[in-house]
Symmetry: C2
Subunit: 713 residues, 2 copies
Amino acid sequence: MILSALLTSVGINLGLCFLFFTLYSILRKQPGNLTVYAPRLVSERNLEQNTDFKLERLLPSAGWIKRAWEPSEEDLLDNSGLDGMVFVRIFTFSLKVFGIAAIIGVLILLPINFMGNQLIIDFSDLPNKSLDSFSISNIPNAMLRLWIHFCAAYVFTGAVCYLLYYEYKLISSRRIARFYSSEPQPQHFTILVRGIPASGAKSFSESVDDFFREYHPSTYLSHTVVHRTSRLQQLINDAEKLYRTLAHMETEGQTTEQRDDSVHLPGNRAHRLNKLEKRLEVLEVNMRKEQSSLFQKEVPAAFVSFKSRYGAAIALHIQQGVNPTEWVTEPAPEPEDVYWPFFSASYLKIWICKLVVFVTCTVITALFLIPVVVVQGLTHLEQLEYWFPFLKSVLTISFVSEVITGYLPSLILQLFLYFIPRIMKMLSSIQGYISMSDIVRSACNKVLWFTTWNIFFANVLSGSVLYQVNLLLEPKEVPRILALGVPGQASFFISYVVTTGWTSLSSELFQLVPLICNYVRRMFARKEGDDLAVTSFPYESEIPRVLFFGLLGITYFFLAPLILPFVLIYFCMGYLIFRNQLFNVYSPKYDTGGKFWPIVHNSTIFSLVLMHIIAVGLFGLKNLPLASSLMVPLPILTLLFNEYCRRRFLPIFKVYAAECLIKKDREEQNDPRMTEFLDKLVTAYQDPALRRSHYYRTGGDRPTSPLLQSDEI
Amino acid sequence: MILSALLTSVGINLGLCFLFFTLYSILRKQPGNLTVYAPRLVSERNLEQNTDFKLERLLPSAGWIKRAWEPSEEDLLDNSGLDGMVFVRIFTFSLKVFGIAAIIGVLILLPINFMGNQLIIDFSDLPNKSLDSFSISNIPNAMLRLWIHFCAAYVFTGAVCYLLYYEYKLISSRRIARFYSSEPQPQHFTILVRGIPASGAKSFSESVDDFFREYHPSTYLSHTVVHRTSRLQQLINDAEKLYRTLAHMETEGQTTEQRDDSVHLPGNRAHRLNKLEKRLEVLEVNMRKEQSSLFQKEVPAAFVSFKSRYGAAIALHIQQGVNPTEWVTEPAPEPEDVYWPFFSASYLKIWICKLVVFVTCTVITALFLIPVVVVQGLTHLEQLEYWFPFLKSVLTISFVSEVITGYLPSLILQLFLYFIPRIMKMLSSIQGYISMSDIVRSACNKVLWFTTWNIFFANVLSGSVLYQVNLLLEPKEVPRILALGVPGQASFFISYVVTTGWTSLSSELFQLVPLICNYVRRMFARKEGDDLAVTSFPYESEIPRVLFFGLLGITYFFLAPLILPFVLIYFCMGYLIFRNQLFNVYSPKYDTGGKFWPIVHNSTIFSLVLMHIIAVGLFGLKNLPLASSLMVPLPILTLLFNEYCRRRFLPIFKVYAAECLIKKDREEQNDPRMTEFLDKLVTAYQDPALRRSHYYRTGGDRPTSPLLQSDEI
């Protein structure tokens, strides 16, 4: 790829971004689009849809950027929880990292690379220079200038590690501060107990009660045994849908009545109504049957609540029963975060599912390489001409060839990748996690590995799948092979950042699919209005994407510093856009308390070590064996630093220390609101299928279906 | 090796065993040998050395066998703790396993192997038959009879797994029962706290006191901060030695005085006494200096004791400080079991030591292969003749060649192996363990891996070290390579069991080295008498040895069932001999509470899986691909069984459950002896260097050195 092709690509993408931003600033002012661009504001503040026409509405403005920039971190924390803050801190952290990288890379390494073995920079014929002129490949072997790259790697690693430490410390202190300042929360007072031993005479519920009254008499509060409710939940969902249709038809009928003053309903509708009511009756009978047999569907698991956080922690951390497979305790998730379908699966089923998920993940990762290899073929014009000879005449036009080499490959990849996070989340959900947040975290990890392997390694190694598996068996060859492959793909990844990176940001802002859906609904659908669903932030797809650009930036930092300005622009835009989205679009349903940060930390360490391994190989290839050997301590030191961080900070993200728990408990000892909280805690972990009526009553304006009123089974 | 050579070897070794047993039964009756053959009885019951001569003393008898056989498991438990019982249970477990194996192997597999492809057993020329005629190699390829071996592998694995489960369950229930029935023990009430944060004004001792008074007000009892005392300990040892010499010289001088009535000491002695006293004075000054500066040598670690076991468990299992690297808790060992030198090392030093130990272990394992390969060469007469041509004439004598092939190789190996446990224990001791029992357990594991790798794999693979490392990189080839190598070494390992196995047992019984030392001391040394040191059982060398014979038996079970009777004889003799030794010779200094059993369990599982892998390869080589494939699920099932056991039983060996702790605490709540125990607990974990005087006072008959009387620093 030559410089002018890259600049064309940059131009196109900057233009597209500007276009999207402009369109966004106009479209978001249209009242009809409020549910697309600010659903959160609509649902929270019940914004009125002001339909008066103003000219100002059609003019683009940059007000949204200001509004995204202004709020402080505290506002963000209040609005989107610690997870939202962690996500935005990925951007501030990356901006710092790539700020330093860009200073070193662009001001020092880039000129050195460009000079090659000359002593002055040669600007002649700049647009037609290959991008390789800006990368380390341009420096001849055994040149002493390479020691500058060597030093740069050490300095950069030191800086990144310092930033990582600072960030980990800050986020863990925020996590603890948030714990101290939080209202009492059910999950801090509750544990999940599994493996309740079956005893002939007693039910699980009685067993739990007896056990905890015996061994935790002073702190035990209450418990909720889990039931297998997936069938009941299904019936309730069906009934609800049916009931809504019925209610809708009836109101429509009434309005028709009022309008037409005709007493007879059309025969067709009467027949349909009749049929629906009969189906509802059948469902009702089934549900009663299911509810009455629920006591047989007790699962040997229960949420056990305690009067204090410390009491819950004691029960959580000490092995309860003599038999370690009985009375197994684990922390309870937030009540809204519990993934109930999990409890319906038997132990064996979960075990098999885990195996299936593992195999499926591997297969997806392996098979995905095929389209990637095809896509990669597209970057070489000769191959394209060979496969599609009829395109020959078109491909000779320089603009077309530039677009194809600069833009098309990553766009196709992008389309394929769109479905991966959904698939991974689905896989994670059948893997046996008890909470939605764990599922999302697990999916996040899966997508991250998938992305790294399939986009980075598949492009770099560019061989058959078999070849890559063989690589694992020759660890000594890895640095050499990477050093041979990675620099060659610099131009691909630079264009990847420019196209995929920037486009993904504008499409996140523009929300094309919801926008079209919204138009279609408004044009064709019956107005239901109150069905506005505010989604939670899709961490499982966004975090891996952002981290992957971090990986590219770090890996290519000293190989091809030209990538750094584009990465920096990506993170600048991302910072603004995601802050905007977090405030306006997404609403957190649960909070993991910053548990995403360890993923970010590990990924950054991985990127650093990958950079070091490539450096070891590269200095070897460049005939600088001393530099190659002196590079070896760097990954070791980095991993030691990681080990230290793992010990110093990771436990904070897993449990709260006795010190915190006791302090917090003592603070609230005499708080009168605690009695109220503990009363509520008793029913906090009831299966939603068993307290549907509650949902209906608070629903307010919706009519109550008689069959859904049972509060208890 | 031919059958007659094996029988010669068996004959020699049985003869030797019988000789040793006879000699033992005579020698142990001699009063002078009581300290060699029953030091434990001597020290415990203060047995009088009856020097009257009786004829019966010179006659061999089998009374010791009866006395070793008779005591029940409860007696053993009382005498040698749970560790002793676990050790003896290795033998009963192995007897059951190899009882079953011998029934299947000798009655079914052996005749089938011997028949080969014939239909009747051919007894002609039996003594000159190669041992291979009794192994699976004698069956031609693709023979349907091999399916009997296939079934035998499944049946045997099932039986072993059942026995493993039963044994694990029994030992863990014994462990819990022993906990319930035990007197209050300091280690159950105490934890070790490390990483006490330094604060400017307060000493570590004050910090600990404040922290635990704040967060564990109801259960905290006391604490003992650890000091760096290795220098003081060294000075005390020196002073003690010097003082003892002085005291000895003085008493000798007095007796000389009384005897000779001469008032003048010989000038030589007076000069020496003077010199010694001066050195003692210097030591005294140094010790005072050291003691007065001890407060500067506080280590940020302390033993913290609690009023109840449950209180200690709570502090142990919950992360105490907000910073996870501070207030790190771990279970305290028994006070006698603490390895004090450990605390003298800094964190960094321990870390470096760990690395050094790891490297050293690897190097020892790698370099040890060289003598093993040489030894292995000795089993092939041709090679021996090639290397030492002058032996040619001697080697043609059939008896000599039989001795060399049957006996010499394993004897030389044995000599080399004698020093390995000591080296491994020394390595473990600098690895950072806080208790002697942990050191022994770690050394036990090291020796086990060493033995398995160096004796089993080195003999089987019989190539250069490099070849074996390459093997690790081709996991697919492992079954084939093992199946090619293992059956060929059957005769070597059969003779190994007969020679090394049986000899090691008789030498354990006979205690040749201590016997000689005893004689030498009695003949030349000044009689000190009271220095009788009863050693604790050398688990680190005996457990790996016994387990290795188990590994051989299991691995060769279906390959060469001829090994089974000899293994069975080994375990029968071992059972009697080690019971005898445990009752008479060794005295436990500390008890791990059966923590050696998981090592035994894991080793047995490893042996089974190894057998399965060999079977997979062998059925492949024998042209039975179906049997080979159907063998694959067996190791997977075995590993799943192991995983289940790990979850079901392993936690019991690590901690005691809340249920146990609370029950035990409640039982003793109103016991008046508890006050006394808690008073003692306060000083239980004092560094022996700081309470030397205590040792002296209880020493009773020994004169007290004035400089060692300080009870506190």
